[in-house]
């Protein structure tokens, strides 16, 4: 019962966050809603007894991704009249929602098709130790590939965002 | 290169300096020594117990609160020429001029007010005054009040302040 109500609250936050994110005009408020959604998602991970994922989500998604996004938003600091003019935003949203709904239904059906229930977790489930053991036994190759991906992303980001070298440099 | 430019040698390029840690250690040692000495004997700290003790070392050049000086006949020395208001960088001097009828001069301030909350005590008004009518030699360094209005000093108040270094009359035109 407690779990259900926690889930309801978190789901509400998540929905409001993501709805706000796609509907606010002011970019920074979108960012704030996104932050709310990410926090709620972290809460859902905790509800799934996945404590490491919970902390990783807060640390990476909230602490790094959202903060960097906010920073970029602030340093770009577009004032209100320079934001894209989107008068038919909500009409578009309704239209696309109708467009997406059959696909969403399909997705939901296929996800619930397995008809499985949550099992009792083993001791240490979701802990750093178990996560590490799994990661470095069955998932070493993907891990390495992801590390290469991260490196590539870093190099790419630096090259893209770098300013033209000044003449006097 | 221009000869007036003086190149200051740059220190701290060695490894020890760039490591910062030895310097930080030295600094910490000094602060800690002061802390230790003062904690063990706080009576030895030589401080002025304000407000029981008042400072006695205010020099003549100290820019305290403003005052308006008097002429020899104890009338206001100010002729409302607006030089102080013109020189004032924070526009805190408010003057209303009027015709002077006592035969001493032609012009005098009807109102002369200084908003000390806006004043930055730069002393430009004193520099600008051609009549030696405004001075900052009262030695008053703390002005207190209960309302913002208390800090707008009117002509009467400014005339009532006495100079801290002997009450001198305006020396204009001497």
């Amino acid at each position: 019962m407690l779990e259900n109500s926690i889930f309801a609250i978190l789901a509400l936050f998540l929905l409001f966050g993501s709805l706000g994110m796609i509907s606010f005009k002011q970019t920074v408020f979108s960012g704030l809603s996104f932050l709310l959604a990410m926090m709620a998602l972290a809460g859902l991970f905790a509800l799934l007894e996945n404590s490491f994922l919970f902390l990783a989500q807060i640390m990476v998604s909230v602490g790094a991704v959202v903060v960097i996004s906010l920073l970029v938003m602030l340093s770009v600091n577009v004032n209100e009249q320079n934001l894209p003019n989107e008068p038919a935003k909500f009409r578009w949203m309704l239209f696309s929602a109708i467009l997406v709904s059959p696909f969403a239904l399909l997705m939901y059906k296929s996800l619930t098709h397995m008809n499985r229930e949550f099992v009792e977790t083993v001791a240490g489930y979701g802990s750093l130790k178990m996560m590490g053991a799994t990661l470095f036994s069955d998932w070493v190759l993907p891990f390495e590939i992801v590390s290469v991906l991260l490196l590539t992303a870093m190099v790419g980001a630096i090259i893209i965002a770098r300013k033209e070298p000044a003449n006097d440099a | 290169m221009d000869k007036r430019i003086k190149t200051v040698p740059r220190y701290g390029t060695g490894f020890k300096d760039r490591l910062y840690l030895p310097a930080i250690y030295e600094g910490m040692k000094i602060t800690f020594k002061h802390l230790k000495d003062n904690v063990s004997d706080s009576n030895a700290i030589d401080v002025l117990e304000y407000p029981e003790e008042q400072p006695t070392d205010i020099t003549e050049r100290y820019r305290g609160l403003h005052r308006l000086t008097h002429r020899e006949d104890d009338t206001v020395a100010c002729v409302a020429c607006f030089m102080c208001a013109t020189a004032c960088p924070s526009n805190c001097i408010f003057i209303e001029a009027t015709e002077r009828t006592d035969g001493v001069d032609e012009k005098m301030p009807q109102r002369f007010a200084i908003d000390t909350l806006e004043c930055i005590f730069c002393g430009y008004c004193v520099e600008a005054c051609p009549c030696d009518a405004i001075r900052m030699d009262t030695g008053i360094f703390s002005l207190t009040g209960n309302a913002r209005e208390d800090f707008v000093l009117e002509k009467e108040q400014l005339l009532a302040y006495k100079g801290a270094f002997g009450e001198e009359k305006s020396i204009a035109g001497k």
Partner: protein, 103 residues
């Protein structure tokens, strides 16, 4: 607890991400919508992991989080670059990359 509400929520999130991408023209919102879709997949993976009682799903989710971070860095760099070029966040402005003279 049953997994269905989680799946429903993840589906709704994913759909909201698509809706955001379709309906908005603000580059930042588009970027965050993509993040949202990735996160909804993450949620599904975490639920799978919990359904099976082992950590494999969680590990993929963790790798996903890393990918999200990488994507964030790249995407934000692209946004900054685009904004420097045209001083706008309107995605429609950047629709004519093929025509050199418009840039």
């Amino acid at each position: 607890m049953t997994p269905e509400p989680f799946f429903a929520l993840a589906t709704v999130l994913f759909s909201l991400g698509i809706v955001g991408i379709i309906s908005r023209r603000n580059l930042f919102v588009i970027y965050m919508s993509i993040e949202l879709m990735l996160s909804s997949v993450n949620l599904i993976l975490a639920v799978f992991s919990r359904l099976h009682g082992d950590m494999n799903g969680s590990v993929i989710a963790l790798l996903m989080i890393a990918v999200i971070a990488a994507e964030a860095a790249l995407f934000l760099a692209i946004i900054v670059g685009l904004y420097r070029q045209r001083r706008t966040l309107d995605s429609d402005v950047f629709s004519k990359l093929s025509q050199r003279d418009t840039l």
